[in-house]
């Protein structure tokens, strides 16, 4: 392979392709690029040597590592590239230059960030993901999505600024910007970086941007968004804060609290946004445990989550595309008209519920085992509760209210073929990495083989009697609970409305403040503007009076005035010479 190809970060390839795509008016050529670029990226990645700095640069005394692959980043990079490919296929029926290009560049930035070897490069691509991803929300074109996208951008940029501040502090403190594990959160630099990651990973109380923006994104946009930003933050945490005790509790709380909101929520895409939160919680908790088994579990679960969460968002996107809504109260009975979408959604639902033979089972059981081995019973119980909750809101609620339940009477067409293809591919991956390794090296072993701690992963057995039994008990009882509650009418009915999360703090109070300030500004502003333009206007008139062709400087008999000037200058020079020399 030529040298420049080995040094080519697949993420850069995608960003480049994205920039080209933005300016490419031919729709099919653009979409061809969007599909070809991730494929080439996967090929490049497969051939890249691990633990080698493929491309480095030195800028202003900082050693930047622009392309480096190792066991941890490989899985994330691969998952991002596969997601970019699925997204491109899923977007085939649309014709939106900005969305195509930005989606590609967004995925590319996430890949490039995963493969960088220093904080500065990480920061740059961190910001690129922020800026490019805004267009996913903006692409929906509604007024709500516009405001949501601006809030989203503000939060993302805030994360970037905190990261930069943290990097600056670390650089000043240690003189190095290489990626390293931060042990002590009490250092201001580490804390700033931690909060920056926390925003992107949607830690509790920093999570509102996610539920705010994802459900308002366009059909394709929500699918694209679900793959990259939060998983990149998970990667960054796994890279820099493994074994950080604070993460255990943060993760555990993250898994539990969205359950309540998700069960009450009516907008099914918002349910998925909460369930994203919940899944990230499992990963964060595992990173906090920090044993090889736990980290393997976190990485594997991130890979699996990108696939099944993408699949669920795709199926909801298809519903939105055909019916124009994802409100549970307006849907139901769609299995008749969208049978394939129903099947794929069910695959995603059982995957996320960790049904044996589907992807999350082999990944989540690692996390649960790791937590159990670490001797954290309370955390373990919280995660079990959250697993039941996942089944409740994502595993049952989403397919039930969208495709079964009471018939809404909607008779729509099946989703376009490209959507079905993308969903089918995602569903295939969900099943393929979930089944036992009947053929050695395939099934779940294929995924385990890629994990950073390979030996530990290969010696781990997901399909043991107790794992399956525990999981099946959980699933059966949770399903039973759903059925009973539904039967007796105790399950929260699907009602239209907005569930206010902690985001009321800025949605209501903040909005009120902004409105009040706006009123004040509306009164004071014109006065200030008048004063400002009064001053500048007078200054302009003054300058014009002096310098314009009819101005003071140009007046007077030309020759006479100049002769006087000459004499005056002569006098001045004589005087100067006279005074200083004499």
């Amino acid at each position: 392979m030529p040298a420049f190809l080995t040094a080519l970060n697949p993420g850069w390839l995608l960003i480049l392709a994205g920039v080209v795509a933005i300016f490419l008016p031919m729709r099919r050529a653009r979409q061809g690029i969007a599909i070809a670029a991730p494929l080439i990226g996967i090929a490049l990645l497969a051939m890249a040597d691990q633990n080698v700095n493929h491309l480095t640069a030195s800028v202003m005394g900082m050693d930047l590592v622009l392309y480096r692959v190792d066991g941890l980043s490989f899985v994330f990079g691969l998952a991002f590239l596969i997601a970019a490919l699925l997204n491109a296929i899923y977007a085939w029926h649309t014709d939106d230059r900005v969305q195509d290009g930005m989606a590609l560049a967004y995925g590319g930035a996430a890949v490039a960030a995963a493969f960088c070897g220093d904080l500065m490069t990480l920061f740059i691509f961190w910001e690129i993901t922020a800026v490019t991803s805004v267009f996913m929300v903006l692409g929906a074109g509604t007024r709500a999505s516009y405001f949501a996208s601006m809030r989203y951008l503000g939060v993302q940029i805030l994360s970037g600024v905190l990261l930069l501040a943290g990097i600056a502090y670390v650089y000043k403190d240690t003189g190095g910007i290489s990626l390293k594990v931060f042990e002590n959160l009490a250092e201001p630099g580490a804390l700033l970086i931690f909060i920056a990651f926390g925003i992107k990973a949607a830690f509790p109380f920093l999570h509102n941007w996610l539920q705010d923006s994802y459900p308002k994104a366009s059909v394709v946009g929500a699918v694209v968004l679900s793959a990259f930003t939060t998983k990149l933050a998970v990667y960054a945490c796994a890279r820099m804060f493994p074994g950080q005790d604070a993460l255990i509790w943060i993760g555990a709380i993250m898994t539990c609290f969205p359950v309540f909101f998700a069960v009450l929520e009516n907008d099914l895409r918002k349910v998925l946004a909460y369930s994203t939160n919940n899944q990230i919680g499992f990963m964060i908790c595992a990173i906090g445990v920090g044993t090889p088994l736990a980290l393997n579990g976190a990485v594997a679960h991130a890979f699996a989550d990108i696939m099944f969460k993408g699949l669920l968002f795709m199926s909801m996107g298809a519903v939105l595309y055909r019916t124009g809504t994802t409100k549970a109260s307006e849907l139901g009975g769609l299995y008749r008209s969208m049978p394939w979408t129903t099947v794929f959604c069910l695959v995603g639902a059982v995957s996320i519920s960790a049904m044996p033979l589907f992807s999350a089972f082999v990944t989540k059981s690692m996390i649960l085992s790791a937590v159990a081995h670490a001797g954290l019973p309370i955390i373990w119980l919280m995660l079990m509760f959250a697993s039941a909750g996942v089944l409740e809101h994502s595993g049952i609620k989403i397919p039930y209210f969208a495709f079964f339940g009471h018939d809404s009477g909607r008779r729509v067409k099946e989703a376009p073929f490209n959507m079905l293809l993308a969903m089918g591919m995602a569903a295939f991956i969900c099943i393929a990495i979930g089944i036992p390794a009947i053929v050695p090296g395939l099934g779940y072993e294929w995924l385990y083989n890629l994990l950073p701690y390979r030996e530990e992963a290969m010696s781990y057995q997901p399909f043991t009697f107790e794992h399956i039994l525990t999981q099946m008990q959980l699933l059966v009882l949770a399903t039973f609970a759903f059925v009973v509650l539904k039967r007796f009418g105790l399950y929260p009915p699907e009602k239209p409305g907005t569930i206010l999360d902690t985001d009321w703090a800025y949605r209501k109070v903040g909005f009120g403040m902004a409105k009040w300030l706006g009123t004040v500004w509306g009164k004071v502003g014109p006065a200030m503007t008048a004063v400002f333009f009064g001053i500048t206007g007078r200054a302009y008139n003054r300058i014009e009076a002096a310098f314009s062709p009819r101005g003071e400087l140009a007046r007077g008999g030309l020759t006479g005035a100049m002769a006087i000037w000459t004499a005056a200058l002569l006098g001045l020079v004589l005087l100067l010479a006279f005074v200083t020399v004499g």
């Binding site: 300058i543 014009e544 002096a546 030309l558 020759t559 001045l572 020079v573 004589l574 200083t580």
Partner: protein, 511 residues
Amino acid sequence: MIEILLSSAPQWALMHAAPLLVMVPLMLAPLLALVPSGRVAWLVSVAATAISLVFALILLGIVQSPESGGAIRYAMGNWMPPLGIEFRIDALNAMILVLVTTIGLLASIMSYPTVLAEVRKEKTALFYSAFLACFAGLCGVASTGDAFNLFVFLEVSSISTYVLVALGASRDRRALHAAFNYLIMGTIGATFFIIGVGFLYAATGTLNMVDIASKLPALQGSRTVQAGFAFIVVGLGLKAAMWPLHQWLPNAYSYSPSFVTMFLSATATKVALYALIRFLFFVFSPTFAFEHAAFTALLMPVGIAAMVACSFQAVFQTDVRRVLAYSSVAQVGYMILGISVGTAAGLSAGLFHLLNHAMIKGALFMAVAGVVLTYKGTNIRDFAGLGRSAPWTMTAFAIAGLSLIGVPLTAGFQSKLQLGYALFEHGWWWAVILVVFSSFLAVIYVGRILEAVFFQPPVNPRKTHKEAPIVLLVPLWILALANIYFGITTEIPLGLARDAAAAAFGLEAFR
């Protein structure tokens, strides 16, 4: 290239390059007045300027070679100085000579179509005769080592310039008034200068510049020398359009034939500035000029006032040529500011800007000449929409305009950078702020023109695709590309300017 020239040139050319450089155009000038055909006169003047350029390059090569000792001294008619007149070429005037002859050649190449269009036909040959005389005069000023001889050449160039400006009357009658004004002012300047030289002669008893320089240190405190100094500075300052003695310039530049404007803007004030530098640094020592006579206290405010006031005036002009004329005065302000620092770095920055500004204004006025030729008007309104109908001319104009602002990757940026370095080194950081402010004004006055050219619809929609003729476009693009080339590699012009500054200080050449 210069090495090849030196090795291939015959011995007589190497020996007599200094006088031949001036004599060829000076002798051809009266002959041209007798030639009936304008075309022949044009070809002869192209040839004459080309020959002068060759000699200038030879002189530069000799001066740069180590065996010359940094200066060529040529005694006219073997009358030894200080009694006889000598031509003395060092790195300072070699640089000016190369500049003047290069611009002269490019200007005379592009001149023919515009002269045909703007000057009455029977006067074409006379016009070229005056041009060659002016050219020879400027070269003479830049070559001679004799103070009185410098006055003579200054008058040769000035008087022919008055004629050239007045010949613009067939296009615009106001040229006559401008020429008359210029004549009065120029004469005042020349008179001041000769009075100053008279004082120096009275004090030292010699007219040779090297000789005067050697005798002045003994005359410290002499009132006669101080008076001479004052008259010379004011006289040459007037010729160099030093603020506030610049008022002859805008009218002279805007009403003379386009070709004359182009030639004068790139050479005439530069040569006068050269003479000022020669006297300030070489004849009077920098110690005298800047420490004893506190000359910084005069030059620095004058330079800054020119930079700011004339940039403001340029902003409000409606005629493109007047915008550029006022901008020229402002640019002279930059050079004066550089000189007023009184250090080698400041002087070399000033000289560097002098070279770059010649390229910038040469290209700008050349493009304007092209527009006058094809579309007649010079008002900013007349330039509207020309970006579409004359893209080649206007692109070159835009490049030079950006260079005038000082956009990175252009020559103008480099010289402002050097000026900034010199000012900072001297601790005048506030002057750097003013330079930047003045550049901001340049953004406005250049931006106004470029906006009209590229973004406004044409006033007259019937304006068809009409470029300037090829003889104009080629020199124009040579200058425009030189602006970009010297904006990227500054080795050649900066080396010339540094050598020149070193020569003015009488130091060993430093690179």
